[in-house]
Symmetry: C2
Amino acid sequence: MLRQDFASWMGTIQERVESALDRLLPPADLIPQSLHESMRYSVLGGGKRVRPLLAFAAGEAVHAEAGRIERVACAVECIHAYSLVHDDLPCMDDDVLRRGKPTVHVQFGEATALLAGDSLQALAFQLITDVPLADRAEEQIEMVRLLAHACGSRGMAGGQAIDLDAVGKQLELPQLEHMHVHKTGALIRASVMLGAHCGAGTTQQLDAMDHYAKAVGLAFQVVDDILDCEAPTATLGKTAGKDAAQGKPTYVSLMGLQCARDFAQELRDRAVAALKPLGDDGRRLAELADFIVLRKF
Amino acid sequence: MLRQDFASWMGTIQERVESALDRLLPPADLIPQSLHESMRYSVLGGGKRVRPLLAFAAGEAVHAEAGRIERVACAVECIHAYSLVHDDLPCMDDDVLRRGKPTVHVQFGEATALLAGDSLQALAFQLITDVPLADRAEEQIEMVRLLAHACGSRGMAGGQAIDLDAVGKQLELPQLEHMHVHKTGALIRASVMLGAHCGAGTTQQLDAMDHYAKAVGLAFQVVDDILDCEAPTATLGKTAGKDAAQGKPTYVSLMGLQCARDFAQELRDRAVAALKPLGDDGRRLAELADFIVLRKF
């Protein structure tokens, strides 16, 4: 059971992020319209906003200004949305359903989907450079640097390439973890760290959040694998059971369902333990770890 | 005739940029190897390096440190390379030949080409945030901001979307210019301005270079259209006559060949005139304007 207070905090942040994204994305009637419509379609009106929630929880833990956190939250969500648009393309996962709606290329065509993803990546970097986000400009450059590395060939995009290479192959657990550390872990870590950099945390606090983020990022993926084999498509809002059908290795296929569940719980415990140096300020981050592990969609 | 001194400067910069890109791109044997190989394949060993040359000419005009200019030169070239990789994909121009070699998706597959482009965009932002590039960190954030806007839906990617929408349509000259200002102009302008921001130019000098960059960017495209209808595929290193065959409007199709040539010359003159406030320091930029208009490939 999630505490009422946390559920209400989460709802407030989700609404705030939705409204900020609506404001910060180019308007749908601006030329080129099909591109701007497709960008808005892919980002707005759906998603759990896990990465923005992590950015807010981390930023609040170091008493950062909410306006700053909002910017980085929108930036990481744009990167996430771009990765989904490109991941759904026919040359990648060839998926037709996302968040219960037709995927972007189904709705707008492949070329527009490609450009929407490209533009969303650029937009993320616009969002975190258009306004001051840290007390010192050097700190803000470090934030941009973190995000750029999280997205690149040694981060998220690299993880997707490792994933591609893994289809139909027999992976061991360490290789599966290596893939997920990149594919989903890098951006989750960046979400936490960018949120944290909006405030004036100590090195010890930043390190604590980094350890937390690594464990939570992996937990997120393990739970994703569990849900992919358990939940019906309607609940998930995307095609369920697809990884197994494509012969992709998952935590469930390698460990079995019960062991995967235990592993997710262990990662949750590890994440929460890492927050110790933050004291009560780490409360939202701990609650988010629970939310990530207990979620049903 | 280009002056010998300019030809030798250009050769030196091109070699320097090639060697820097080779050093700054992830090594080919780093996992995921196919991704890193494809990134290197798309960037190294070809291209006129027009954007890096513009960055160097602008940086040198304000006596910037060469090491800083090298970074921004590599960043804009990574963005350019990413745009070519995505532009060549089957869902876009579906081209099989680039710089005389098979395009990236022909060589490595579509999924890897998609991820290579995505990763190159991220790499560009890594390159301009990994090290200090300006006297003040605020100035460097402004550089990142310029690049992010140049790449996005109101810059290069937007220009490609306008281009997509234009296939088979009857465009007038102002609309054609609007497309090119975004599609090629935005990144050319960013190349000049990022180079200029590496030094300590006055506002007047920066404005002069911005005016120069707008004219040169358009001249570049007009000459591209002329070459596309004049030059054989072997000289061009890419499929010639393709725009006309696809029913895409070009400066030649709208103005006729001779008028397009005159227009390119007029833009060259406008670009050179804009450099007046720079005095002799604007020499390389002026020579580059000539190079861009006189090139045969």
